[in-house]
Symmetry: C2
Subunit: 149 residues, 2 copies
């Protein structure tokens, strides 16, 4: 097949449908997080990470590498979340211990509800509507992309 230097209408249509679909999906997920829990996607990610860690205290650098974020982004965001009473820093100047991050009681409650609701959202909007073929196709594409990324 000869390929020109611009996308053919057919190529463009697929590409455009795909990016639009992603956009619609992301927008809806974020809208629901904001509407039902008053948090952004970024805040939700932090809540999930701390939620997973359960009782263990987490360090900023751990969060940053887990989320693949800049450390300063984490620090800034934690400052804001702290001021809203969702997280806290346990600064133990003592010898063995490190500065740790924890969910507050409120933060934990919020995380519980939000994680649950989010699972429902993902099912409803993403997983349930997928046919077997679509699931396979998306899974294959994703694996390829991650492998080459």
């Amino acid at each position: 097949v000869t390929k020109s230097d611009t996308l053919s209408p057919a190529e463009w249509e697929i590409w455009h449908a795909w990016t639009e679909a992603q956009r619609v999906f992301a927008r809806e997920v974020e809208r629901l997080l904001q509407r039902d829990f008053g948090i952004s996607k970024a805040e939700f990610s932090v809540l999930v990470s701390l939620h997973r860690a359960a009782e263990t205290e987490v360090r900023v650098s751990e969060l940053a590498s887990a989320l693949e974020w800049d450390k300063s982004r984490v620090a800034h965001l934690l400052t804001r979340m702290e001021s809203r009473g969702l997280t806290e820093r346990t600064e133990t100047g003592a010898k063995g211990r490190r500065t740790g991050i924890r969910l507050t009681a409120n933060g934990r409650d919020l995380a519980d509800s939000a994680v649950q609701a989010h699972a429902g959202t993902i099912r409803r909007l993403f997983l349930d509507p997928l046919t077997m073929e679509q699931t396979t196709a998306i899974r294959q594409w994703s694996d390829q992309m991650i492998a080459r990324g």
Copy 2:
């Protein structure tokens, strides 16, 4: 099938693979635009829109609705792009005419190259690796998602 209130490992795997893949993909596309042309994805979108319009002058509100952006976002971005010599505003205070936006000569050259290169990127990273079956499945999924959005 009974559904719990959290995602099963299998569900989570698909979901996670998909979001990670998107992230890898988006990151690479933006990296290339920045590296090869010194522009962001947002700036690229504006260049493409103006490029399509060819000689016709475009208004801010048209750009905004085409891109589904806030009008002020367009205005702010155009101010920056104007200061870099990529676009210009043709303010005709005359009666029938409206304030129009145009590419400069430099902007047009940049748009030409970037559109071409971007088409190659989309082919290489997205279109070419897809089989016919995957293409069909992804197209269907995208259309569903857009329809319900």
